[in-house]
Amino acid sequence: MSVVNSGTRPSLSPGQRPGSPRKRQRGPRLDITLAGQSKLAPYLFSAPAIVTVSLLLAYPVLYGLYNSLFRAPSLGAPEEFVGLENYSDMFADPAFWHALVRSAVFVFGCLILGLILGLFFAFALNRVIRQLRFLRAITIAPYIISNVAAAVMFRLVFNSDFGLLNRTIEFFGFDGPGWLSNGTLAMVVVIFCQVWTDLPLTILLLLAGLQTIDTSYLDAARVDGATGWKRAWHLSIPLISPQIVISTVWLSYSTLTGLGVVLALTGGGPLKATQTLPMEMYSTAFTDLEMNEALAIASFILILNALLTLVYVTVARRYGTVE
């Protein structure tokens, strides 16, 4: 998910890309032709990475899933196996359903806003040639700052006493609302802030798609008299649908599992109006100190995330946009 990657896609066969002349050079691989190498070397070399990744990424997830099946009968008592009881309790908890609905609003809002703005800006950038590098550098800015910094900045922008937004509204003779004290508006602010931080990558993904479109298609459409909007809608957007799917998957992943922006901007408030699932998980774990129940919520989020990804890809495949 980086902006400045310098590698290319690693192929699964070592150093031999199809079509390269080296492919014909069968047989001796480097480890056989070169001296001083044992059969063990590649395993030793890759061991630190594999161990790190297993211990820090794979193991914790399995640990979380496993421990969500346990519960301490009272604080400090040893944990007992309770099967899916944490999950059934979770589903019986109105707070969970509230958080699920809030998350749905949040994810859906971010997807709509993020994709519309992403497409709009990607199309705009696609027509620029000379200033592109400069504009791209600016576009990336929100991507390289922390969620907390973004949240603080948005609190300043949307501050109801002195925020520039409300002063502008007042200038036109209206009363600016208390953005962060009204539940609905707080959700709007959180969505805007999350989209602001996630948009750079969306724009770059979509722009990459637009730039691979063969201009002869567009020229042909222009000769046939298709207007700019028609070309965009009937040609460009269908042609970049793989990138749109990737952007959707990524935005959905980032917003469904995103905690930093919400926590730093509203902390779930006002009156739990922005209490999304990750917030619910966080407060269950670190305010209520019910770790195992929080693990059940976390597992639910991870499973939901995987299912959503599956749905997007399946839908995209059905409509023949992603092979």
Binding site: M1, S2, G7, V53, L56, L57, R222, Q243, A285
Partner: protein, 310 residues
């Protein structure tokens, strides 16, 4: 996803080169608008979305910077974007705080630590995956890359509990290790691709001259992979510098926090909000990385374009 963005960068650059030579942009876009007036209107229409894009991106920064240059009372009295008499009081106040200085130092230490450890772990692995054909290679590579899909949200509570059990809570080293772990899949992915592009004839020639594998890695692979190493270093540093939710649960004492955590606390600690200080703190956490990033970005581009890897 990393690769897609990567392709984007390259595709864009070649396009700049190609189209830049073929004439001014408006000629291509305004091909149908024959009259000068039509061309002018089209040019304005082209720039409106871009101006919106720049405003959308830059306004929060500008507003924050503006507030950071005001006095506390002035924030309410004078809401304009340009302060009457810009002052650096808020910056002085923030820098004088031990909380800020400690967190800044921690962020720098954890950032460089993460960059170093990520590179140290991923270089040998990437070399093995790129240069050796060994049994289980596909499976192990997949096993290294796949965990990248795990959202860090899913790691929060388990890593906290593991850290408590292992007595690793509230240590800078823990942060370094955790962030490195999160970066390793991406780093290996980037490096494998990069090392595969380095002609193996170079290494074969060096081998004929009697260079050992470590010498070949040290004197051939690493120098040629430098752009990838810098990229990985920057990404690792960025992760450590910006990450918030894990440092939130993995540190407990003030002395171990990094900047995002300290900034987060700053919103709640004061009874009366000190907005200029908050804004100044935000700017101070953003600026160092933007400085690093813009410098390094040039370096990366230069490293690729000077053609040390062809």
């Amino acid at each position: 996803m990393a690769t897609n963005t990567r392709h984007n960068t390259r595709a864009t650059d070649t396009r700049v080169a190609r189209d830049g030579a073929s004439g001014p942009p408006d000629r291509r876009i305004g091909g149908l608008a024959a009259s000068p007036l039509g061309r002018g209107v089209r040019r304005v229409l082209l720039w409106i979305p871009l101006i919106i894009l720049v405003l959308w991106t830059v306004m929060p920064f500008l507003i924050t910077m503006s507030i950071s240059l005001k006095a506390r009372g002035e924030v309410f009295a004078d809401p304009g974007l340009l302060p009457d008499s810009p002052r650096l009081d808020a910056y002085r106040e923030v820098i004088a705080r031990p909380g800020f200085r400690g967190a800044f130092l921690n962020s720098v230490l954890v950032g460089f630590g993460t960059a170093a450890l990520t590179i140290a772990i991923s270089v040998p692995a990437a070399y093995a995956f790129a240069r050796f054909g060994f049994r289980g290679r596909h499976l192990l590579l997949l096993f290294t890359l796949l965990p990248r899909l795990v959202p860090s949200l899913g790691l929060m509570i388990p890593l906290y509990q593991i850290a408590v059990t292992a007595g690793m809570l509230d240590k800078r080293l823990t942060l370094v290790i955790v962030y490195s772990g999160m970066l390793v899949p991406l780093a290996v992915w980037l490096l494998v691709g990069f090392i595969q592009q380095i002609p193996r004839e170079l290494e074969e020639a060096a081998n004929v001259d009697g260079a050992s594998m470590f010498k070949r890695i040290r004197y051939i692979v690493l120098p040629l992979a430098l752009p990838a190493l810098i990229t990985i270093g920057v990404l690792a540093f960025r992760e450590a510098w910006n990450e918030f939710t894990l440092v939130l649960v993995l540190t407990t004492t003030p002395g171990k926090r990094t900047l995002p955590y300290e900034l987060y606390l700053m919103q709640g600690i004061q009874g009366i909000q000190n907005y200029p200080a908050e804004a100044a703190f935000t700017i101070l956490t953003i600026v160092p990385f933007i400085l690093i990033y813009t410098r390094i970005e040039k370096y990366i581009v230069a490293g690729i374009t000077t053609g040390s890897v062809k």
